[in-house]
Point group: C2
Chain length 406, copies 2
Amino acid sequence: MISVEQHLDRILSTVKVIRPFEQGVLDAQGCVLAEDVTARGSLPGFTNSAMDGYAVHAADVASAAPDSPVVLPVVTDIAAGNTRPLSLAPGQTMRIMTGAPMPRGADAVVPVEATDGGIARVSITARSVVGQHVREEGEDVEAGRVVLRRGTLLGPGQIALLAAAGVARLRVVPRPRVVVLSTGDELVEVGRTPGFGQIVDSNSVMLSAAVTAVGATPYVVGGVPDDARVLMDTLEGQLVRADAVITTGGVSMGAFDTVKEVLSRVGTMQFDKVAMRPGMPQGFGVLGDEAVPVFTLPGNPVSALVSFHVFVAPALRQLAGRPEPAWPPGYLTAVATETFRSVPGKMEFLRVILDEDRARLAGGQGSHMLAALAAADALAVIPPEVTEVRPGEQVECLPLLGREAP
Amino acid sequence: MISVEQHLDRILSTVKVIRPFEQGVLDAQGCVLAEDVTARGSLPGFTNSAMDGYAVHAADVASAAPDSPVVLPVVTDIAAGNTRPLSLAPGQTMRIMTGAPMPRGADAVVPVEATDGGIARVSITARSVVGQHVREEGEDVEAGRVVLRRGTLLGPGQIALLAAAGVARLRVVPRPRVVVLSTGDELVEVGRTPGFGQIVDSNSVMLSAAVTAVGATPYVVGGVPDDARVLMDTLEGQLVRADAVITTGGVSMGAFDTVKEVLSRVGTMQFDKVAMRPGMPQGFGVLGDEAVPVFTLPGNPVSALVSFHVFVAPALRQLAGRPEPAWPPGYLTAVATETFRSVPGKMEFLRVILDEDRARLAGGQGSHMLAALAAADALAVIPPEVTEVRPGEQVECLPLLGREAP
């Protein structure tokens, strides 16, 4: 029996970041940069107005005040999108819109609110200083500078910066492609009615959803029979498109545990009992020329989803090049509102409902019990040496993926 | 000038949940149930073994112990997927795998670990009680019972429960389809080099990414010119496929603010100054026969993304039928590590970097400054009546979407 930490360590010391790929900036959302990126152009690309108002020589309006307005002729309008370079002579003004290029010579913008809004001539009632309401070329980003570093996760703000700085394509770590393979003669596909002794293959849709929730791309290969040859052929056929493979079922102590039987002989696969509940039988290793990580999860649905959260999700994040999040923390602390019991010597993952910072059991805790799993917000993690958490005591909780949408 | 709360209230009291739609269970991930769903079958669907071991009459092994084993003949094996109903006579046993149907008559399972693992006959070294390691038909879910309620957000565990209970299709609130429309003669599309006076249309890719990050589906209509007729025609053409429209630009005080000019005349559109920085000029209303909500955001990228977080994201969640999350809270509390300054009378949204529970400014706070936006983890929210947050004081922060992947 190995500990949860030992199994996770083995996984994370094996899994490598996926080879980077060039993508369009929008398609790179949620991916991690695989290179430092430099700005092609400056931001702003030209000195422009920060306000709707009037471009002036600041010296011309130095004495302007509500009771002593300065009146200047308005020689033209400058709209955003004006591509003609203009020059402003002293003693004149131009009406200018937010984002429009400043005319040469002008060194300040008087906001429209500090004027009478005149079109041919304008009465200005507030003084201005050099640089006021002016955005200088390059004050945000200088061309040629690194704007984002390798390792940055790309969200809306990062994508905006890259696009604005003229970067349309860039090298990122692609989204992991994950083959989800469920095994068992007893499985019927979703939508068919199971006969006596059969069950719906709910693991494949559950894990597909979990893979999606962690930002990776699932490929479901459902209902592989308990046949060594078929399983091996299926696996080999899938390895070419997979950055990782997840199987469920066929790994416990039974006489017909095909996954364990077949995979024990190949690659670096290793099958262990992990000191956890649920999810004790775990297998992990790499297969094929590309050393694709393979996770063999137990077939009980609760065991499979717990194993996904504890072992697979961190590995998929590592494949995607993401740093483990310092913030928000993976775990959060809640206060138990009832007694949580746990077996000694195993890390226990209880399905709990969170109500603000209070946690209560979600219902039946059997590893086949889907109703409680579906009602739960999080897994309360009880360390191996703890056998009881009393009401009012704190407990670490691992939020379930997809339970709260963004 | 209206408050942030007033503008948000007007939006949220207008926006309705999108009409439900029937979808396959896997495609419904991230969606909210629009109906109570009842189980078609029981879970488990048949009484089965919770362990790999031996099905017995518990009475036969009542005296079993390590020093006085009970030896029973093994009459057959029962694998998971066995669809033949079997009967077990007293004094006999059947080897049974996890999930395999219990034979009639048997009332307990002895785990393989408490036996010698025999195949023709087995030596059992631990007593058993009725029901031990047996999962009763329907103990998790009874057929016909409501398994998930209307309003439930569907993640991996919920999808597994529905699939297992025989529900393949169900009515959910669809993902909102959001048209992102950027306006301005100065815009060039991403990947093209802007000339003098032009800028890359980074807002459309930024908001498209933000829409995706909130679980909705974006349709980008980029670079609409500042022409009233073109804008109106474009909008009308897009309304048919939109559950919401977001525009950026053209809503401030300028003489060429086409969006404001065109939309002021139609639907229930209303343009307000909102007491916030950045993001003061805001427009909202509904357009067309379907009363599609339209958000006109300011054109400065930081203003646009702040406005998205504060006004559009809550509205899209409401369109999608999601309850505002009680947990995790939208806001988190951090401690300022430097002085944050804010104008009086406006709610200020400062771009900050979080380091555990400490917040510091991300850099230049101008509403055009993308570098600081791209470096930030969150928006520190400074209420209108506060003009200064001192080091060590607490500040509420709104995490930026997509800044931390799941």
